[in-house]
C-alpha cells in the first residue's frame, strides 16, 4: 500500500449519489425508500447546496386533470409535440417518451416528499396549465428534499467533490472524493451520477466554443465542472449531444459571472430593438412571445461580435415587462444612450431612424401577437413594432447566459450509463443535466430540466437499489 492510500478514509455504502440537486436527491430518496444505505456527495457548501435546482421554479409534467395549482390537463402527445417544436425534432423519441410518461402525476410524489406547490401568478400565467410552481422556488424544494433525506437517514457530505471513479469489468468499484479536510475512498455497490453539466468549467467551455466563451455568463452554480462527465468519457462511456448546445438565454449583461439566476432575465426585447456592437439589428425581435423566444436569444447574441447585444426601448414600453434587477441606462436622446453604451451614436441614430420609418400605424397590444410589423425592413420585426421616439430612452446590454450544457452520458431505459460498445455499465446510473442530451438536442422548454431530473432521478434511484440484489 502506498503512502497516498494510507491517508484516505475508507467508506462503504450501498448507493453513492454524486451530486446534490433535484435529480440527486430524488434518486437518493428513492433508493433509500427501497432499503439501500445511501450517501450523497454534494460538492458545494451547505449554504449553496442544490446545484442549479436552487435557481429553478417549476416542473413540467403530464396530468389528466386540473388541480389546485394546475389549470387544466396536459397529456403525453401535447407534451411530446411541444418538445418536438422547441428541439426542432432533435430528440430521441423513446427516451423523450420515457421522461414524459414517467412524469405522469409526478407532482404527487414530490408533495409526498415535502414539495409544496402554488398556482402560477403574475408573469407566469402562460405556464399555469403545463407547469407546477414550487412555493418559494427551487431552493425551497431542495430544502424539503433534504429534510426528507434527513428523516429517512440518507447521509449527505457537503463540500465533498467526487474526483474519479475506478471501474473494472464494467462496474464501478470505488470513487475517490475530496472533502474539506481529507480525501476519501468510497466503495459503493452502485453509483448514481447526478452531477450536472459542465458549464461551470470555463476551460471546457473554451474548448467547445472557442475564445467567445469568455463572454458567457453562467446563470447557475459554479460547482458544475463536469468532472464526472469527463471521467466517464475517459472510461469509455458513450456521449450524446453537441458540446456547444445547452439551455442558453439572453440575460442582462451586468449579471454576475455565476449564480445570477432568474432575476437577471430581461423581458424587454419584444418591445424594442436589439443592436450589435456595430449598431445594427440582427434578428426579428417581435417573432414570438418572449417566453417562447428567450432560449434562442442566448445563441443569437453569442453569434454577434464580442457576444453582446444592446436593447433600445423608449418610455412607451418601460412598464410593459417584468422589472429587471439592474436599472436601465437612460437618456433623453437615442444618440446619448448609444454613447453611454459605448456605441457609435451616428450609426445607432441612423438604425433607429430607418427602423422608425418602416413602422406602420396600428393597434399595439402587448398581450397578443398584434401583427404590428415593419415594412420593407431586413430583418423585419413582425409584432409590437412601434417607433422608438418617445424620450426618455432606455437601454440594456444582453449577454449569453448558460443555464446548463446538453453534452451528456447516454443512458438506457434503466438509467444505466452506456459504454461506447453499447453495453451498459452494470452499477453506474445517471440522472439530471448530465443526461439531458438524451432528450434535448437543442432548444429548451420551460420546466423540463426538472422533469428530466425528477424522472431519471427516480429511475436511477430505483434501479440502483434494485441492482444491489444481483
Amino acid at each position: 500500500m502506498n503512502k497516498e492510500q494510507t491517508t484516505l478514509d475508507h467508506i462503504n455504502t450501498d448507493v453513492l449519489v454524486i451530486g446534490g440537486g433535484n435529480a440527486a436527491l430524488t434518486a437518493a430518496i428513492t433508493a433509500r425508500e427501497l432499503g439501500a444505505n445511501v450517501l450523497v456527495l454534494e460538492s458545494s457548501p451547505v449554504e449553496v447546496r442544490g446545484g442549479n435546482s436552487r435557481h429553478t421554479r417549476n416542473i413540467r409534467y403530464i396530468h389528466d386533470a386540473a388541480n389546485s395549482f394546475l389549470t387544466g390537463p396536459y397529456l403525453e402527445e401535447e407534451c411530446y409535440n411541444d418538445l418536438l417544436m422547441v428541439t426542432k425534432g432533435n430528440t430521441t423519441e423513446h427516451m423523450a417518451r420515457l421522461v414524459i410518461r414517467g412524469s405522469h402525476n409526478v407532482g404527487d410524489w414530490m408533495m409526498a416528499h415535502g414539495c409544496r406547490f402554488q398556482p402560477a401568478m403574475r408573469g407566469t400565467l402562460h405556464l399555469s396549465r403545463t407547469n407546477a410552481f414550487f412555493r418559494g422556488g427551487g431552493k425551497a424544494l431542495i430544502n424539503a428534499y433534504h429534510e426528507t433525506c434527513r428523516r429517512l437517514g440518507v447521509q449527505v457530505m457537503y463540500d465533498t467533490e467526487a474526483l474519479d471513479l475506478e471501474i473494472s469489468n464494467g462496474n464501478c468499484t470505488a470513487v475517490r472524493a475530496r472533502g474539506p479536510q481529507k480525501e476519501y475512498l468510497i466503495r459503493p455497490r452502485a453509483v448514481v451520477l447526478a452531477s450536472g453539466g459542465y458549464q461551470g468549467n470555463s476551460a471546457w467551455l473554451r474548448e467547445a466554443w472557442g475564445p467567445t466563451a469568455e463572454n458567457f455568463l453562467i446563470r447557475g452554480t459554479p460547482y458544475d465542472k463536469g468532472a464526472m462527465l469527463k471521467a466517464m468519457m475517459e472510461k469509455g462511456a458513450k456521449t450524446i449531444g453537441d458540446p456547444t448546445q445547452g439551455h442558453c438565454v439572453a440575460i442582462d449583461g451586468r449579471a454576475p459571472k455565476f449564480d445570477g439566476g432568474i432575476c437577471t432575465r430581461l423581458d424587454c426585447v419584444p418591445f424594442g430593438i436589439v443592436l450589435n456592437k456595430k449598431g445594427q439589428r440582427f434578428y426579428n425581435e417581435g417573432e414570438e412571445f418572449w417566453p417562447k423566444r428567450y432560449a434562442i436569444w442566448g445563441r443569437l447574441v453569442a453569434g454577434q461580435p464580442d457576444q453582446i447585444g444592446y436593447v433600445f426601448i423608449d418610455s412607451k414600453s418601460i412598464n410593459l415587462f417584468m422589472p429587471s434587477v439592474f436599472p436601465p441606462l437612460e437618456s433623453d436622446t437615442v444618440g446619448g444612450l448609444a454613447e453611454q453604451m459605448g456605441l457609435d451614436p451616428a450609426v445607432v441614430e441612423e438604425t433607429v431612424r430607418v427602423f422608425n420609418a418602416s413602422t406602420k400605424p396600428g393597434n399595439f397590444n402587448s398581450n397578443e401577437l398584434d401583427g404590428l410589423a415593419t415594412e420593407g425592413l431586413d430583418p423585419p420585426k413582425t409584432n409590437w413594432a412601434r417607433p422608438i421616439d418617445t424620450p426618455p430612452y432606455y437601454g440594456y446590454t444582453l449577454r449569453p447566459g448558460i443555464t446548463f450544457t446538453y453534452l451528456s452520458l447516454v443512458i438506457n431505459e434503466k438509467g444505466q450509463v452506456v459504454q461506447t460498445n453499447d453495453a451498459p455499465f452494470g452499477n453506474i446510473f445517471a440522472a439530471g443535466e448530465i443526461t439531458s442530451g438524451n432528450v434535448l438536442g437543442q432548444g429548451y422548454m420551460a420546466g423540463f430540466g426538472m422533469t428530466i431530473g425528477t424522472v431519471f432521478g427516480r429511475l436511477a434511484g430505483k434501479e440502483a437499489a434494485t441492482c444491489l440484489g444481483n
Binding site: E47, R122, R135, P256, I262, P323
Partner: protein, 372 residues
Amino acid sequence: MSWELKRKQQDAVLQEANRVMGICNACRYCEGICALFPAMEMRRTFTAGDLNYLANLCHNCRGCYYCCQYAPPHEFQLNFPQAMSALRAQTYEQTAPGFLKKLFPNNAFYVFAVSLLATVLLTAFALCAKGASVFFASHTGPGSFYQIIPYGAMLLIFCLAALFTVVALIRGVIAFWKISDGKLQWLDLAAHKQAIRDVLTLKYLDGGGDGCNYPDNQFSMIRRKFHHATFYGFLLCLASTTVAFIMDHGFGWPAPYGFFSLPVLLGTAGGLGLVVGTGGMLWLKTVMDARPADPASIGMDMAFSTLLFLVSLSGLLLLVLRSTELMGLLLCVHLGLVLGLFLTMPCGKFVHVVFRYAALVRNAHEQRTGQV
C-alpha cells in the same frame, strides 16, 4: 448622535430595503409565502413611503430567507427579513413623539429602567403612605388592595398612564400612515374586516400551511402558537382589567375578587397565556438562527417580551399569595411593572401591534381594489 449622522443612517436603512426589494421584484419566487411579496409586485419602483409600509407588512416569518437563492454567501447578500426588521424598527423610532425617539436606541435599557423606576417609586409611595406595618401585614376581603395603595392614587396614576399610552399610540399610527404615504385606504370597512381576520388567525405566520421558519430553516408552527398565546393572553388580561374596572368604579365592588369571578378567570387564563407565550418567544429568540435577524432589533424585542412575561408572572403570583403578608410587595411589583409596560408601550416593540394592523388594512384594500 448628530442629526446629520442619524439622517445618513436612516437613509442607509431605506437604501438597503430598496436594494433588496429591487432584487426580489425581479425574482418573485417568494410570491406564495406571505402578503408582502404580492404587495411588492403591485409596484415597479419603491418610494420611502412604500418601503415603510411594506416593512411593516412583514411578519418576520423568515420563509423568504431560507428559500432565497440570493441570500449570503451569494454576492447579492440578500437578507430580506433583516432589511425589513431594521426598517421596521426605524419606522417605530421615526414616528415616536420628540423626546420618546431617544428611547429607541438602547431600548432594552430604557424599558428596564422605566419599569424598575415605576416599581420602586410605587413601592416607596405605598410604604410612605401606609407605613411598613400595614405594607407587610396580610389583608383580605374587598378593598384590601387599597390598604396598600390608596384608591385615589391608584385611579389617578393608572388613568393617566392609560391615557398617555392611548394618545401616544394613536399619534404614532397617524404618523406611520403619513411616513408610509397612506391615503384614504383606512376608510375601507371591508379591508378592516379582512385585516382583523388576518390578525386573529395570525395568517402570515402559517407559511402557506407549514408554518414559519423558527428556530431554524425547518417549518414549524411553534412561533405562531407562542405568538397566539401572547396575543390572546394579552386580550384576556385587558378584558379582565376592563371588567374589574367597571365592577370597582362602576358598581362599587372593589377587588380582590374570588377565584371564580369573571375578572380573575379572565386574568388567570390571560396570565397563563402570556407566561407561556412570552416565555416561548424569548426562548425562540435565544435559540434561533441569528442570521436572518436584525441584531439592532433584538434588544427591543427581548425587552418587550421580558416585561410582559414579568407582568404576567407577578400577576399570577399576586393571585396565589394575595392573602399572605407578601401581598403588599407583590401588588406594588405587579402594578409597577404594569405601569412600566403602559409607559413604554408607545416607544418599544408594542408599536408593532398597531403598525402591523394598519399595514394589513392597507394591504387588504390594495388586494381588493387592485390599486396601490
